[in-house]
Symmetry: D2
Subunit: 340 residues, 4 copies
């Protein structure tokens, strides 16, 4: 952490400033020139608030954190890629996962038909929402416990590991046999939830918040990992921007950046990113080419009648076609589609 003093500040005041931090156990560096003086802090600066120090010490012109605030998820801390094992499949570099299924589990027929079809087409995991975070209290909120039961039934029949979103810690016990717990974009900074999920060993699919920076995204993963759980899959799903034609703007640059900064696997959700069916296939192709470790695709047996997010769902036949394309492209990238 570095602080530049205002011009012409007396040396004695700078010394007093350094002493504040030395008394707290930090080492301080000092350098000066004709025009400015710089103080650097060495030690566990993650507990300091750089803006606060800058704003509340009148002699400071400018302060800046130099080191990344995330530690355990940092590739500097762990250079080797993390592999997240989920039932018979694994998320991580060199492998590719296709998670498919409906936004919401609606009834037995729906989820079973979809599960069988996506399994047949080559999907490697099944997704389905039982607890749905909806911006309107009047919209369908999911089947709750019954939805989880139906997912488990589909898992039993198809052998596909299942992914489902947890919206409140009170639901945790219901997720005992769910393979991957999804933390949705709106809960990315629900720190109480993250902390609790850090205490279990389940795979966590963490979605980036609608207006979260990559740094904040990694800090949320850090919450989980500091609890002891490193089974984290990062998911870029688009951020909110000035563009209004698409629901969100897929920040595809996040994939190479996250993989450079962190050792965790990174997947893309092309359905929510674009918010429209016609963008799912193009964004999937881009995701594979740029090095994502998987994708999360909304698939429905009858999108026109879906109780949620039908606008962006592929029907089963479109999904099947897309899977052929996915297999061809994953092979081109020398990756393995990790079918169980």
């Amino acid at each position: 952490m570095i602080f530049v003093m205002k011009q012409n500040v007396e040396k004695s005041k700078v010394d007093a400033f350094r002493k504040i931090f030395e008394d707290k156990g930090f080492k301080t560096l000092y350098s000066f020139g004709t025009d400015y003086q710089v103080v650097g802090l060495v030690g566990n600066t993650s507990i300091l608030d750089v803006d606060q120090i800058t704003e509340t010490n009148v002699i400071v012109e400018y302060g800046k954190r130099i080191t990344e605030p995330f530690k355990m998820v940092n590739r500097k801390f762990q250079p080797e890629n993390t592999y997240v094992k989920v039932g018979p499949t694994t998320f991580g570099e060199g492998l590719f996962q296709v998670i498919a299924g409906p936004c919401s589990v609606e009834n037995e027929n729906q989820i079973m038909e979809i599960a069988r079809a996506v399994k047949l087409s080559g999907a490697t995991l099944l997704r389905g929402g039982a607890f749905k975070p909806r911006s309107s209290p009047y919209a369908f909120q999911g089947l709750h416990a019954e939805g989880i039961q139906l997912l488990l039934q589909a898992k039993k029949e198809t052998g596909l590991p299942i992914v489902s979103e947890l919206t409140s810690l009170s639901q945790f016990d219901l997720f005992e046999d769910v393979d991957v717990i999804q933390v949705g974009a709106r809960n990315m900074q629900n720190f109480d939830m993250l902390r609790e999920l850090g205490l279990c060993k389940k795979a966590i699919l963490l979605k980036r918040g609608l207006a979260s920076t990559i740094e904040e995204f990694l800090m949320s993963a850090e919450y989980i990992m500091t609890g002891g759980n490193s089974n984290i899959i990062l998911c870029e799903r688009g951020i909110r921007t000035i563009e209004t034609m698409t629901r969100n703007t897929l920040d595809i640059s996040a994939v190479p950046l996250l993989k450079k900064l962190s050792h965790l696997p990174v997947i893309i959700d092309p359905s929510h990113a674009g918010g429209m069916r016609s963008l799912v296939a193009p964004l999937t192709k881009a995701a594979i080419a740029i090095g994502a470790d998987g994708i999360l695709i909304e698939t429905h047996n009858n999108p026109a009648e879906a109780l949620s997010d039908g606008a962006q769902s592929l029907d089963l036949s479109d999904f099947s076609e897309l899977m052929v394309e996915i297999e061809r492209r994953v092979a081109f990238e020398n990756k393995k589609l990790d079918k169980s």
Copy 2:
């Protein structure tokens, strides 16, 4: 809800489209011209997803929800202003509230000194965080139950009603004697939390999310009000934009818009909006002039040593000076500073 058909769609297909909705109990309108055909739906369209219908019916070119999706918080539903009574004070049109206090309760001396000072200066409520949502797991997370106890002690001595943030429903019982429960920006779309808070009668201070639209903000208030609790205070606290000099960009236009669209009181948080001390006074002046029903100001006895958000906290002397200015301006607006 209105749908425009694609050009040259056969009338029979439009009729089939209309029948889908008539079968669900909606009335449909139909109009046509040389170039286009329009279908309107009348009924409880809040349960329909306009994008989904548009994307999944190939004959539809364009669909649009006409009516606002929020109902109970809508001024059309309730033309009279809502007044939220909090202990001896009230939030609402014609009145003005000043909520002051530290970001975090840190220890007894700190909160008692601040509480006495802001009371003396003229603040009408005391704020203080016991559970802090921090983007870093390494930052100070609050004193938890002990923090609430200290706030209650300060309330007892000063008579100021207290405001504190709830970050998880598991904390709810601890808030029994807290006068106003704050839902932070990061929990604005924690729908499970909103639903539960709708079942109690406590005053809820709902902060706008970092990247939430005004419509989404009102939909979150709708969640609370549909549960039966209309004691809701809306708080604009800045949104994230392309500007990097300030932490957030205060969307001051939100005040007149929220007051036009809804009957709920609206306050402003000038501390978080700007993220710097020097902006608190100017933004406070603007807030009063534009018609806000109150402000929420971070105040600290020693900002340089604050355990959180010191950069934007006023010290007690600055706050005292600002209160003089606030009183003068509130009087100019013919409003009443509602001191207990």
Copy 3:
């Protein structure tokens, strides 16, 4: 400008890095600790690109410009407020200007009626567009030279100085008797235009770009001032954000920030910021309270039939009412409405 080296970089490499800049005439500072080494550059760093140096020198972890990149418009360079004299009126601290008039000059009757009415109501300058930047080639583009002539006629009759937008340098000669040349938001980074306008002595009303930061805004003013023209009025008119209910989001914090960072006068355009009539009066009140030096209000004798921007124009009667409010509030702020 400061550079932090990567961990464990050899001292000899850091020396070579310093030598690059010393050979270019910069002084370098060096400080080191157990964990990191820092190099600072002293001299005219405004010609250096900090990102480029960081990205292209593999030993550098992080680089940061410390000093603000703008110089002449900086309050550190000129602590005294700039006053911009425009005919009989002046823009600057302690004064308040109300610029009123239509988005576009449409015909003689329209502009003369509006000019007389706003003069009578108390406006201090008249605005009117002759060259209109419109996002659609099919929209009305202005009366061009004839529009300027009509404005000059209105100026002659009412005595109000006039403000009009220049969209291309080829129009410059037509603006000889125009008192204030407006540079629109879309031309804020038309650097060729800024450079040319720096060579004249006319007052320039520079609007902030739709997605420009405050720093970029000041850099554009710097272009004008480095040419020798310091008659610059900064105008905040809203930035594009995630909010869709308003056309733009007025960044009201920009007023105190610009006035702190720079010595130039700052005004607000409440018409474009909100894009709707109902927001003009509330935003005007906020603008006065926060310390703006003036406002720019679209006013029309018949908004419903205006050829451009009618949605945000006040009619003459609303404007007259608002002027009463403005006078009352400007007096409350101890400012002088500078009527000629």
Copy 4:
């Protein structure tokens, strides 16, 4: 264009509203139900301002333009793909172009060395800036006429068509032998410039503005095409968002959307989008996979010493390696790299 009336508006007022437009030559549609009345306008609605009509007619609740405001660039207007011929090469569906070269032409040695190298590696066009729009007046602004001469020399020797940015119409004559005129992001809404460029027949590479929507981007292309010039190449180069780690956020979804909405070729600029060298290769792979018709890559013989944009420039060896990857991927997509 559709207008929904407010509730309970008298039929006679709606008729008067319709008459306004019928008098202007529009046909009107009318439909009504128990709750609402809708008026539709048929005719050349591109000259109308929907927001203005909505805001200034008190009986109107809501108005919406139904048809896209762009016509000539619309795929509905011209279903066949446009091919833009540039010297011996062509931009358009099925082909792929690689435009490489430095941000700025700096001197003869620099541009000749780069031109020879990128030609050898397989680039199909050479880019180089002679007039540079820089946010700081203190930064290098380009070699101007001399820069163009050096580019022409490089073109002569290598046979590569050249691309260079025009920042002011006064430079137009100098561009006589430049093959593709680039309109930069900051000039995307310099409508005077667009109109003039519509009058020539040169190929125009139009970059998307930093905060422009896809609709605005197409409207700017419409300005050029209405003048008579359909030799337009659209270039997505990233938009400004809340993410601060990258200079801009590449909106990769823009590629399939632009190709669906319009018949014009679309390329991507991975250098400006990310603003860092390490993102160029990954974004290039994504661009090819998603169906872009080409890329624009900053390449420099010595990025560390580049006078502009060195941070994002590839050196010649990295570019050569990337070309191998590009050729392999373009072939995989069954496209032809159109080497002359």
